[in-house]
């Protein structure tokens, strides 16, 4: 069966160039980057080259990059590395669980956390952040781009507020990296986390930008890896891959591929909104990353639509998977004020660099007919159409 993958905000395939770059480090180039001999020097050089590439992606010094196991670790290291009992922390209601549940845990450690709400477009109002500041506020952690809607947050304005108030600012950049150009100075953040597998590197690697002079309490103790900010032998193949993926991302911005991707995304959403009645865009009117669109299809369960599409070969997503694999209504969409049934009826399409125009055609053919079949069998839809 033909399989088309439009769930790149969940994970992306490792690009062939990336795989080629990392492959030698599984085999012949296996040395421990801390060893003094040839083998160690070889992998040390590879790690540092990758660090430079990632630093270039976010426009910082390479010494400010700490490699991690992924987005969750970066978010946790930033948050638990800075917040102490008695501190106040400002976050938002639409953060990824890696931030949200870390903040929930801070509350049990004697921190107070303010969760800034979002408007109907899914954006935080910077004035709300300003108003939430208190004397003992230590950290603001607000994401750059939301994973479900793709909506970009006003991080530069929040960065200014943080500088004025002399408060640390961490931003979860996992869904922004590789999709929009990043510049930590323009953002004005002290910490920014990224994840490899959201940008065509493999799962299990990520990076945290830590502004020079930011004293982080480490979470892992051991050797003096990563300038004592993150102990543990480096994941060299993963780090090399992340470096390569960063290089490729920078090239795509030079070529303007992000604009091409935005056109593809716009074609998907416009065609669906035109062809299928009782649909709408979540996050309409807000700036978004170029690969993501989130559409509600009234009178259906998003869960059933995702399953039906998967059985026909199209991978998309809805809500958040709980530990059993069942879908829970999205906290992001409900935070934007969507009715629970509309939140459950929402589907995310997220593109990757590997997707082709033919794949988009396939999806645009499949989605409307599948939605019709679901609605034919939907008790709610039939009741509504009969009464009309």
């Amino acid at each position: 069966m033909r399989r088309v993958y439009f769930d790149n905000n969940a994970s992306t395939p490792v690009l062939p160039e990336v795989f080629d770059a990392m492959r030698p480090y599984f085999g012949e180039r296996f040395g421990n980057a801390s060893s003094i001999h040839h083998h160690g020097q070889d992998t040390r050089a590879a790690v540092e080259r990758a660090r430079e590439a990632v630093a270039e992606l976010v426009k910082c010094r390479s010494s400010e990059i700490v490699f991690t196991s992924g987005g969750t670790e970066g978010d946790n290291l930033a948050i638990f590395g800075l917040a102490r009992s008695g501190d106040r922390v400002i976050s938002s209601t639409i953060e990824h669980h890696a931030v949200l549940n870390a903040c929930k845990h801070l509350e049990t450690m004697g921190c107070e956390v303010t969760y800034i709400p979002v408007d109907g477009h899914g954006q935080v109002d910077p004035d709300d952040v300003r108003r939430a500041l208190r004397k003992n506020t230590r950290l603001i952690t607000i994401m750059m781009a939301n994973n479900e809607t793709g909506v970009l947050q006003p991080v530069e304005e929040i960065g200014k507020i943080a500088v004025e108030a002399d408060v640390y600012f961490h931003t979860d950049g996992v869904q922004a990296a590789g999709k929009v150009p990043l510049d930590v100075s323009r953002i004005g953040c002290d910490l920014l986390s990224i994840s490899g597998h959201k940008m065509h590197a493999p799962q299990g690697v990520g990076a945290l930008y830590v502004r020079k002079g930011t004293l982080l309490q480490p979470m892992l103790y051991g050797g003096r890896h990563e300038r004592s900010r993150r102990a543990g032998t480096e994941n060299v193949p993963g780090i090399v891959a992340l470096g390569k993926a960063a290089e490729l991302a920078i090239e795509t911005f030079r070529r303007g591929d992000d604009h091409t991707m935005a056109s593809s995304r716009d074609r998907i959403q416009q065609t669906i909104l035109d062809k299928v009645e009782a649909t709408g865009l979540n996050g309409e009117g807000a700036p978004r990353v170029p690969n993501t669109t989130n559409i509600y299809f009234d009178y259906i369960e998003g869960e059933a639509l995702v399953i039906a599409l998967d059985l026909k070969g199209l991978a998309v997503s809805t809500g958040a998977a709980c530990s059993s694999g069942a879908i829970e209504p999205s906290h992001v969409l409900t935070a934007m004020g969507l009715r629970p049934d509309r939140a459950r009826a929402s589907i995310r399409f997220s593109l990757g660099k590997q997707n082709t125009p033919e794949e988009i055609d396939f999806a645009l053919d499949l989605v409307p007919q599948t939605v019709s079949r679901l609605r034919e069998l939907s008790p709610v839809y039939n009741k509504t159409t009969v009464s009309n």
């Binding site: 869960e303 059933a304 399953i307 026909k312 059993s324 069942a326 079949r373």
Partner: protein, 370 residues
């Protein structure tokens, strides 16, 4: 080999439904595994009277894991469908309310009526399946003469689950498959082994899935506390059948008809709960003989083998899961209500339980004991 169809299998992670998936796959059907996520076991964990750790069987991660492993072994697509909201609304709340009004509910029937053969069947159709198969021990067949779908008792009488399935409509039955209907449990386990299913020896589940350890009283307390409601005070009097007050009780939901232990009064002869009067909060007790009754009313009727009930009808009636159907006459006695007259008095007719009517192996229909 039957014609190849797309069939959704309701997979619980147990031996029966796993074997169903394996059988249908071996027959060449396109099989899709579905598991319903019905109840979050962690919700009430650690509340007063509830275990700290998750112990219940329902929707445990272990069962989902088992079902997923079976699906992988068979090479079929598998999905978990979230039905927690519906389950709470249509099964858990009614379960709590029934106990608080002095009745003894059967959540499994409600789950079959409102979740498994309603919501899950709709999802199955929506994702392109022609039918939904489950691991129930029952048979379904189309009766050419009467032009109706019939629900029948299975070959293995000791595993008969038709009592919990009386609510199925003609539409639901027409899309339902019970592939285990002709098999015995040992045969099913044997088949599971032959299909290489690791869980062939997994023990059967018995208790109400969302009530850990079967302790429904603690569940009621914990659930109501979580909802911000105190357990309503349903304490009252213990009275004899002729109206004498002989003591007090701590709440009607602690009792069920036929119960002998825990009455808190000592008399010369054994006492049983004969009746629970919800409005008056009275628990009526009496002798073993007084526990027997000849007639009962049954409400919210679903008829299966017949479309309407005209003349009074001779049937066998089952009034609880482990009850041997007793011969009786059935007659319409009001709107959506029947009166049943047993040939011989039956012990402990219990409001809230289902009454299911049989004509031989055929389920005529059923309803709820008033």
């Amino acid at each position: 080999m039957p014609l190849s169809k797309a069939i959704a299998v309701a997979m619980s992670g147990g031996v029966d439904s796993s074997t169903v998936a394996a059988m249908l796959r071996a027959e060449g059907h396109q099989v899709i595994g579905l598991t319903m996520q019905l109840w979050n076991q962690r919700r009430l964990a650690g509340r007063t009277g509830m275990p700290e750790t998750v112990q219940g069987r329902c929707c445990s991660l272990d069962d989902v894991y088992d079902a997923r492993r079976v699906a992988e072994t068979l090479g079929i697509p598998y999905y978990v469908v979230n039905q927690e909201d519906r389950f709470e609304r249509d099964v858990v709340r009614p379960f709590v309310e029934e106990y608080l009004s002095g009745r003894t509910p059967i959540p499994c029937s409600l789950c079959n009526n409102h979740l498994k053969f309603d919501q899950l069947l709709i999802v199955a159709q929506q994702i392109g399946a022609d039918a939904l198969a489950t691991g129930h021990y029952a048979r379904v067949e189309f009766d050419q003469h009467g032009g109706r779908w019939l629900l029948k008792r299975p070959a293995d009488r000791s595993k008969d689950q038709t009592y919990f399935l009386f609510g199925l409509t003609q539409e639901q039955l027409s899309r339902t498959l019970f592939p285990l209907g002709e098999m015995t449990k040992p045969e099913v386990r044997d088949l599971a082994r032959r299909h290489g299913l690791a869980l062939a020896e997994k023990p059967d589940s018995q208790e109400i899935c969302f009530v850990p350890g079967g302790d429904y009283k603690n569940f009621l307390d914990a659930y109501l506390a979580e909802q911000g409601d105190a357990l309503p005070d349903t304490a009252g009097e213990l009275v004899t059948t002729d109206g004498n007050v002989i003591g007090e009780h701590g709440g009607i939901h602690h009792f069920t008809v036929g119960q002998r232990k825990g009455l808190g009064v000592a008399t010369g002869s054994p006492l049983y709960v004969i009746q629970i009067k919800g409005d008056a909060r009275q628990v009526v007790v009496g002798s073993q003989e007084e526990l027997y009754s000849t007639t009962m009313r049954v409400r919210k009727i679903n008829l299966i083998s017949v479309g309407v009930l005209g003349e009074p009808m001779r049937v066998h009636v089952k009034i609880r899961h482990r009850h041997e159907p007793a011969s009786a006459q059935l007659e319409a006695s009001g709107n959506d209500e029947l009166t049943i007259t047993f040939d011989r008095p039956q012990r402990a007719v219990t409001p809230g339980q289902a009454a299911v009517f049989y004509d031989g192996d055929v389920v005529v229909g059923g309803g709820w004991i008033a």
